[in-house]
């Protein structure tokens, strides 16, 4: 099989082709390494690990020959550079983790390697996963492999998992690991025309993932098909004693859920998501999504999620508060960057953190510090936690009526690199449709469903009750089958070539 064709395979196709010995894991990995090299202009990878990938491929070929293939044997993956990988630099796209090489492996990546997957490299992201455009990375922005029709300006891939989404869309890897705190899997997936799946909070271990906001952070896959997302999630997920919020629960066969019957189920359409000044193209796509699900046998029901508009401001108290605490560990003592010339300890801390963190991270740490400071805790932090309860109750009430909820993933398509940089709030609004489910800890998935007038991809989001990823996956597959989305508009050559 030609190298180009090998990078066009989905994970399911690659898995089946490897088992049928149509090609070797070595050929599959080499094809992707070549694509990564050709696609370097996208800046999607921060670290490439070709030796490790080839060694993994060799082991995979040996196991396949011996009839001992595991679930993901020989499948090459990109890993967001927020997952600690033993012996491979992990940066969180921050200067402050300069030179850090983890002496341990995150549980999610450990699970993937134990299932036979092979690491191609570490993907770029917003610094500490704080951003919606991948422009806060210390190592420069990622370019979206899509371009507007007749306009060659580079666009953002979304964020924070921008490198993972761009790499998958440009066929540099068939799937990638990502994390989602307020939309960081789903929004970049929508911007790049790929599938982004955020599981229920607690489904995947957070052990070894650089922490941003611990009550919200959750790992998930970015892939080109819903089936591939289901395949990866099954291997990633599972109970882990090293994460106190990991949930002790059987991991279902998510891939089998694709075939679930949908007839008779109800899809909720929340009226509060039809925001003022909504892009008519997004509204039209949302309507189409409803029709596709009706065609699949679901009944559409209008629902109310009355506290929706308060989700984003509550999130911008809770997430920075947790971040200010989590990021206190970066002090120049145990790992990463230490400023030169700090003559006293306190001075060393302040200079190290002042120069080690980028502008957005500094801003969020300071907001978090402020809302947690004496005299303000009740007015901000406690208030936001109460609003979070109301948002979770909204969803709980809705799920008494419906089985799954359909919304747009983001309020617009990808924008140009440099746009929305002047005002943090306009950047934050990218996550207006994804943050509510994050606060409630619910699973969500973004499915590429169409393109806008500029030819850019748009995504639809499905949200399901806690630990019912299976219904969500089945409904996502129904949309995918009917949307007939063509990902061919994404090219690695778009980036700087």
């Amino acid at each position: 099989m030609a190298a180009a064709a090998l990078t066009d395979l989905t994970i399911a196709e690659a898995r089946d082709g490897l088992l049928a010995k149509e090609f070797s894991a070595r050929e599959l990995v080499e094809a992707h390494l070549k694509a990564m090299e050709a696609g370097r202009g996208l800046n999607a990878f921060l670290t490439e690990t070709p030796e490790r990938a080839l060694a993994g491929a060799e082991e995979a070929d040996t196991r396949i020959a011996a009839g001992e293939a595991r679930a993901l044997e020989g499948v090459p993956l990109g890993i967001k550079d927020l997952f600690c990988t033993e012996g491979v630099a992990t940066t969180a796209a921050s200067r402050i983790l300069e030179g850090f090489t983890p002496p341990y492996e995150s549980t999610v990546t450990r699970n993937l390697w134990d299932a036979g997957a092979v690491m191609l490299g570490k993907t770029n992201l917003d610094e500490f996963a704080m951003g919606s455009s991948n422009t806060t990375s210390h190592f420069g922005p990622v370019e979206n492999p899509w371009r507007r029709k007749g306009d060659n300006r580079p666009l953002v891939p979304g964020g924070s998992s921008g490198g993972s989404a761009a790499a998958v869309a440009a066929h540099l890897c068939p799937g990638a690991m990502a994390t989602d705190t307020g939309g960081s899997i789903r929004q970049p997936a929508a911007f790049c025309g790929v599938v982004g799946l955020k599981p229920t909070y607690g489904r995947c271990s957070r052990y070894g993932i650089v922490a941003f906001a611990s009550s919200l952070d959750q790992a998930g896959p970015i892939t080109r098909t819903v089936r591939d997302g289901a395949i990866l999630l099954r291997s990633m997920a599972g109970f882990d004693a090293r994460d106190s919020t990991s949930v002790q629960r059987e991991v279902p066969d998510f891939e089998a859920a694709l075939a679930r019957p949908l007839k008779g189920l109800k899809v909720g359409v929340p009226k509060e998501y039809r925001v003022d000044g909504m892009d008519p193209e997004i509204d039209a796509l949302w309507q189409k999504g409803i029709e596709w699900l009706e065609d699949a046998g679901l009944e559409a029901v209008e629902i109310g999620l009355p506290h929706t508009q308060y989700a984003l401001p509550a999130y911008y108290i809770l997430a920075p508060a947790e971040a200010s605490s989590n990021l206190a560990r970066y002090d120049g003592v145990r790992y990463g960057h230490r400023a030169e010339g700090g003559s006293e300890l306190l001075d060393m801390y302040e200079v190290t953190r002042g120069e080690g963190f980028g502008a957005e991270v500094r801003r969020r740490i300071m907001i978090g510090t402020y809302v947690l400071s004496a005299g303000y805790y009740d007015a901000y932090y406690l208030k936001a936690q109460k609003v979070r309860t109301l948002i979770a109750r909204d969803f709980a009430a809705a799920f008494n009526q419906v089985d799954v909820i359909l919304t747009p993933t983001a309020p617009g398509a990808a924008f140009a690199i440099g746009e929305k940089e002047d005002d943090p709030i306009s950047m934050y609004l990218n996550d207006v449709f994804t943050v509510p489910a994050s606060l409630a800890g619910l699973p969500g998935i973004s499915v590429p469903a169409g393109t806008d007038g500029d030819g850019l991809p748009l995504g639809l989001q499905l949200v399901a009750p806690s630990f019912d990823e299976e219904t969500m996956i089945a409904a996502a597959a129904a949309i995918e089958a009917r949307a007939g989305f063509d990902g061919g508009g994404a090219t690695a050559a778009g980036g700087g070539a």
């Binding site: 960057h337 230490r338 002042g354 402020y370 936690q385 109460k386 309860t389």
Partner: protein, 95 residues
């Protein structure tokens, strides 16, 4: 909510982040805008609503009280910017 320059300097000190004097005004404006936008939460009636501190509806697990890790000082110190004789080292502290 408007944050003045002095407040921002105080937050920066609490957060152990050095901010240059000339950057304080700009930062005060940015943080004031964000806090002003967050103020809309005051419109929500949260009387009697319990705070939600975790996403999953679960209690923390108990485990046996035994050592499960350790004995790896080389690994612990491997990434230290400065270490000596099995310890992290820091600049002198003068009080």
């Amino acid at each position: 909510m408007s944050l003045d320059k002095a407040t921002v300097a105080r937050i920066a000190a609490l957060a152990r982040i050095r901010v240059a004097e000339e950057d304080l005004d700009g930062l005060a404006r940015e943080l004031s805008n964000i806090m002003g936008w967050i103020e809309q939460l005051n419109a929500v009636d949260t009387e009697g609503v319990p705070p939600m501190s975790r996403a999953a509806d679960q209690k923390l697990r108990w485990r046996e009280d035994k050592v499960t890790d350790g004995g790896i000082p080389e690994k612990v110190l491997a990434n230290a910017p400065a270490a000596k004789d099995g310890f992290f080292t820091v600049p002198k502290v003068i009080e």
